[in-house]
């Protein structure tokens, strides 16, 4: 299946690297702004919840981390699949960069979820919670991808074999989620993304949106760093890179 020309241009490592080099500082500062602002808004400006008191403020780190941690696996699988089907090495580089970040966000989601769980439900861990358990499995999927990739000496083989695992994983994630949810559910329903009837008030919602945006932009900054590192590693012998590395001020 042929791809549009811009796709191939974007998929060329030197172009991608230069684009990343430009975007990276902007993403970094924007992320910092959003995160600091969002944290301040969440910790200071937002009023305490009448049911949960100040403990609800954990939502401002928990929800963004969970949102990202679970969705990044889709990005991983799509990038790996694109790399596998059309043999675009940059796509594999993206997948390899996303995996550790996804794992980090899922860990934050689980840790903050567990900490929040104690005052909320009286227990740190709750096996009956479909979300918590599926996050645990998703963490194993991220780590499995990274471990499998690291086991191969041949990077091209590593990319392709891990891509198969990623695609099998993405098929499994909804199955695993629904099986655990079927098992028992305890978690409260989603508190945002309900545009018809938001279940939390504006002054609590705005810090949350800021934090979600901040986490996403922060992820972009992290991804660009890792992606540039991956490109440099993979394109070691390329002339464009050697010229770039010997330029002043780098």
């Amino acid at each position: 299946m042929p791809l549009p020309r811009w796709f191939h241009i974007l998929g060329s490592p030197p172009h991608a690297y230069r684009l990343a080099e430009v975007c990276r500082p902007w993403a970094g500062w924007l992320a910092l702004l959003l995160l600091v602002g969002g944290t301040f808004a969440g910790l200071v400006l937002a009023p305490p919840d009448y049911q949960m008191g100040d403990s609800f403020r954990i939502i401002y780190v928990h929800v963004p981390a969970a949102y990202l941690g679970t969705r990044l696996y889709l990005l991983l699988a799509v990038a790996a699949a694109i790399g596998f089907i059309w043999r675009i090495k940059l796509a594999h580089a993206v997948a390899a960069s996303v995996a550790p970040l996804g794992a980090a966000f899922v860990i934050v989601a689980m840790a903050t979820g567990a900490i929040w769980g104690k005052p909320m439900w009286g227990t740190y861990w709750q096996w009956g919670d479909a979300r918590l358990v599926s996050w645990l499995v998703q963490l194993f999927l991220y780590v499995g991808y990274m471990a499998l990739h690291a086991s191969f000496d041949d990077r091209d083989k590593a990319d392709r074999v891990s891509a198969i695992l990623a695609v099998v994983g993405i098929v499994n994630v909804p199955i695993i989620y629904y099986s655990v949810e079927w098992w028992t559910t305890l978690h409260q329903g989603p508190t945002i993304m309900k545009f018809d009837r938001p279940s939390i008030k504006d002054d609590m919602l705005i810090p949350l949106l800021m934090m979600i945006a901040g986490f996403v932009v922060c992820f972009v900054w992290l991804l660009l760093n890792r992606l540039q590192g991956e490109i440099v590693e993979r394109e070691r012998d390329a002339r464009w890179l050697q010229q770039l590395a010997t330029e002043p001020g780098k």
């Binding site: 074999v161 695609v167 499994n172 695993i176 099986s179 079927w182």
Partner: protein, 222 residues
């Protein structure tokens, strides 16, 4: 294509039965692991009954991983797997035949053993058939997943250590539905729900699994 499937299947079965002692290893492992739990926990009947289904299922999962190496490694080492891949037989048929062999040789005996070991956990006799049936329904999916793990690591020298990490999280739904089915029948309720879900997973896995396995073998043997 039908006959190619049968030929590969028959060959794998013959090889497997040539060394019967190797066949028995996963089954012995199953028995031993299952027997260790009452020793580790307590002789209390009520407690054992409550953990029995879970313990037996986990032990079964772990045992099915054991026969992993024999799936593809031996054939990969002596080059016969590459020959199969190069032959006009579609790789998915080869994968399906090998998975079926693994299923017949390693996993199906577990289905017979598990109810017997249920007695060790004071599980009531009436619950045992459902338990066996649930395992039977889960096993095709299990064999596919195990074979996938083997295929992904076929070119690794010591792939065995990582396969558990790859395969076991994917078996979580099987575990959940399987133990739930057994528990439901333990309490005298209908286990139809989870059984249907296990059957659906089996159909899904057998239909799509060989594709992924074949792809993994092709990449691995490159």
């Amino acid at each position: 294509m039908n006959s190619a499937f049968v030929v590969i299947l028959r060959r794998d079965l013959q090889i497997a039965f040539r060394r019967v002692s190797e066949l028995a290893n996963p089954l012995l492992f199953f028995v031993i692991v299952a027997s260790l739990f009452p020793l580790a926990l307590s002789p209390d009947a009520a407690q054992l009954r409550s953990v029995g289904t879970g313990v037996l299922w986990v032990a079964a999962l772990l045992s099915s991983l054991l026969a992993l190496e024999g799936l593809f490694r031996a054939d990969a080492d002596d080059g016969s797997l590459e020959q199969l891949m190069l032959s006009p037989v579609p790789a998915t048929i080869t994968a399906l035949a090998k998975v079926t062999a693994h299923w017949l040789v390693t996993v199906v005996p577990l289905v017979v053993l598990m109810p017997m070991l249920g007695l060790l956990f004071y599980l009531p006799l009436e619950a045992l058939p459902v338990m066996a049936f649930a395992l039977l329904l889960a096993t095709p999916t299990l064999s596919v997943l195990v074979a996938l793990g083997a295929a992904l690591t076929v070119s690794l020298r010591r792939g065995g250590s990582i396969v558990g990490l790859l395969v076991l999280p994917l078996t979580a739904p099987l575990l959940i539905f399987g133990t739930r089915a057994a528990d439901l029948s333990l309490h005298g309720e209908s286990a139809a729900g989870p059984l249907y879900l296990l059957a659906a997973l089996a159909v899904f896995a057998v239909a799509l699994g060989p594709l992924a396995i074949a792809a993994a073998l092709k990449v691995g043997l490159d």
